[in-house]
Subunit: 227 residues, 2 copies
């Protein structure tokens, strides 16, 4: 469902050039949950934004559902992001003027789903994350961990085939962090392909395998667990 | 250096009223590092914003350096925040139009320190956090963990007596997270009083004691470690 082939990313040029990713290969099949770990600055968010078509690779190819991103029109990529990709941003990226449930329902509404249906789906996703009482609050009336969970709900609502989560439990206690991993694990069982960036080895253990980044390169991968 | 006496905080009113804190007592002496833990939504950030005079308590008293916050003028409180209190926000709160070193130097410059002196202090703080190459970059050119470390550098620059950090290692790998705790530990040894909110029990173990919140109340405290 997701494939990165020899992806490199360079920011800036000349003396201030930053090699954020170097020749990264990654393959995530439907039903698989892959964790990505590595030091701060090693390229994890860059890998995810390129996989989610939010940024272009400098060289290399990205394929989502077998389709090459670089071969798609801007409209087709936008549609792919609305329908097929669920993204949890490292800084949540909620819209301050929308309530929690409106934030969660937004991708569906943008895709033409009727408001009432979208909001019902939004409330359901919020309940799965323990936020049934917070639906009508605005982001600035929520705790850090509540905002993070709203961002996660927005990524899992609807029928996405690819789930990309950038440190979805960074602001969460261990109980809530485990609940998020359980949710992602369940989504992948339904056929979704998932990539989770995390610093927490315990949460990474929920994944089928772990990819390790350092200085923009994949330096190690674990084998799938036995049995 | 910091004292909370029977502090309560209520958000909203009527049926949507939220009791964020209930009768919280906390005392942190100069030289002590206290960790605060608890589930998402338990009141940790609220406790910290009230301790840092960024929000008012609904009832109860807050004393910084022996001075009662409610008895101070707005100007005096602003001066206290610039000079005496270093705050690391859960969402970093960096200024997008300033470079990393400018963000770090800002509290000093606002307090009348000459720009060159302030920037030198800023670069020194960035070096302590492993960011000597990132000083002239803007926040949107930094990774999540790099932004968090800039926010931490801003809190420790200058001569603060009170350090309040809201999950300063949420976006950091374990190596960087430990480096942050080491830095806070060292600051407290110099006579600073520190309060760190964290979900990570391993990082909390760097503190002299741990306070546990649940539903806005202090439900438990550890004794200081032996020896
Ligand atoms: N402006 C507000 N209006 C209403 N409720 C609020 C507001 N701000 C915070 N709250 C609520 O107050 C409670 C405590 O929030 P706080 O941010 O202190 O939690 P926290 O312990 O820091 O959580 P986290 O670990 O998720 O960051 C939460 O239930 C939150 O939803
Ligand atoms: N716009 C940019 N211009 C220059 N350098 C950038 C830019 N964006 C990111 N970088 C750099 O690219 C590298 C990788 O960044 P990335 O955000 O992918 O790291 P990360 O692994 O997600 O880190 P963290 O764990 O801190 O979130 C870092 O060294 C960062 O400073
Ligand atoms: Mg990142
Ligand atoms: Mg908080």
């Amino acid at each position: 469902a997701l494939e990165l082939r020899s992806v490199s990313k360079v920011y800036g040029d000349g003396p201030t050039e930053v090699q954020a990713l170097r020749e990264v290969n990654l393959s995530v099949e439907a039903g698989a949950l892959v964790a990505v770990m590595g030091p701060s600055g090693s390229g994890k968010s860059t890998l995810l934004t390129i996989a989610g078509s939010l940024e272009d690779a400098t060289t290399g190819e990205v394929l989502v559902g077998g389709l090459t991103l670089s071969g798609m029109s801007r409209n087709d990529r936008a549609r792919l992001r609305r329908r097929a990709i669920g993204y949890v941003f490292q800084d949540f990226n909620l819209l301050a003027g929308l309530t929690a449930v409106e934030n969660v329902a937004l991708p569906l509404e943008l895709d033409g789903v009727a408001a009432r249906t979208a909001q019902a789906a939004g409330m359901e996703a919020l309940e799965q994350l323990g936020l049934s009482d917070q639906g009508s609050r605005f982001p600035d009336q929520l705790s850090g961990g509540e905002r993070q969970r709203v961002a996660i709900a927005r990524a899992v609502v609807g029928d996405r085939r690819l789930l990309l989560a950038d440190e979805p439990s960074g602001a969460l206690d261990s109980v809530n962090g485990e609940a998020v991993m359980r949710l992602m694990r369940a989504a992948c069982r339904r056929g979704v392909a998932g990539v989770v960036v995390t610093h927490d080895a315990q949460l990474a253990s929920w994944a089928d395998r772990v990819v390790f980044l350092r200085d923009g390169r994949v330096v190690d991968q674990t084998a799938p667990p036995l049995g």
